[in-house]
Assembly symmetry: C2
């Protein structure tokens, strides 16, 4: 994953309403939830919710599907997995030091 993509995913989750929405959708499972249900559950006005859903959707973290008059939003598990993998590989903070021989590209200070 490119760093810019990781930043996009992080940014879309770095907002309380959106993190709540995403968490809610993850817990709701693959079928997802209709926008109205999310609005009602999380007490978010529809226009504000729509804005946040669009953000998450643009980032690729959720998908939408129309079903009669309802639009169901569901979490894209793969996308989240990819983000976690990126963070674990590049910014990991495991017990054992990660990437032990990878060095930050430090150019020697020239006099």
């Amino acid at each position: 994953m490119e760093i810019k993509h990781a930043v996009t995913l992080l940014a879309s989750l770095a907002q309380e309403a959106r993190l709540e929405i995403f968490r809610c959708l993850v817990q709701a499972g693959p079928d997802g939830l209709a926008a109205g249900i999310i609005s009602q559950t999380l007490q978010i006005p529809s226009s504000t919710l729509s804005f946040h859903l669009k953000e998450l959707s643009h980032a690729g973290l959720i998908s939408a599907r129309q079903e009669s008059r309802f639009i169901y939003y569901s979490a894209n598990y793969d996308s989240m997995n990819a983000l976690l993998a990126y963070l674990t590989e590049n910014c990991c903070a495991g017990e054992s030091p990660c990437c032990p021989d990878v060095q930050c590209q430090v150019t020697p200070i020239k006099e």
Copy 2:
């Protein structure tokens, strides 16, 4: 971890310069790097870097320690681990559906 704290951590990583800085510090290991080296390596003007280091520091993702005239910044592995744990537990997208019986708190639509 509280959701607000997760949001704070995500927000501090949701910026390309900061994600680069953090990644760099993770790779640099526990000793970290002096601010000037980071500035030079990532080509970030010192004032801008200082701003971003402060953000990461406030979020608790990095620590600073003075060493003679230099200030060394290093990644707080524990903090990152906690974030990954939070995301895995609350927003996880594993192969197997997570939290199978936890349901998003959906109040039934009343007529």
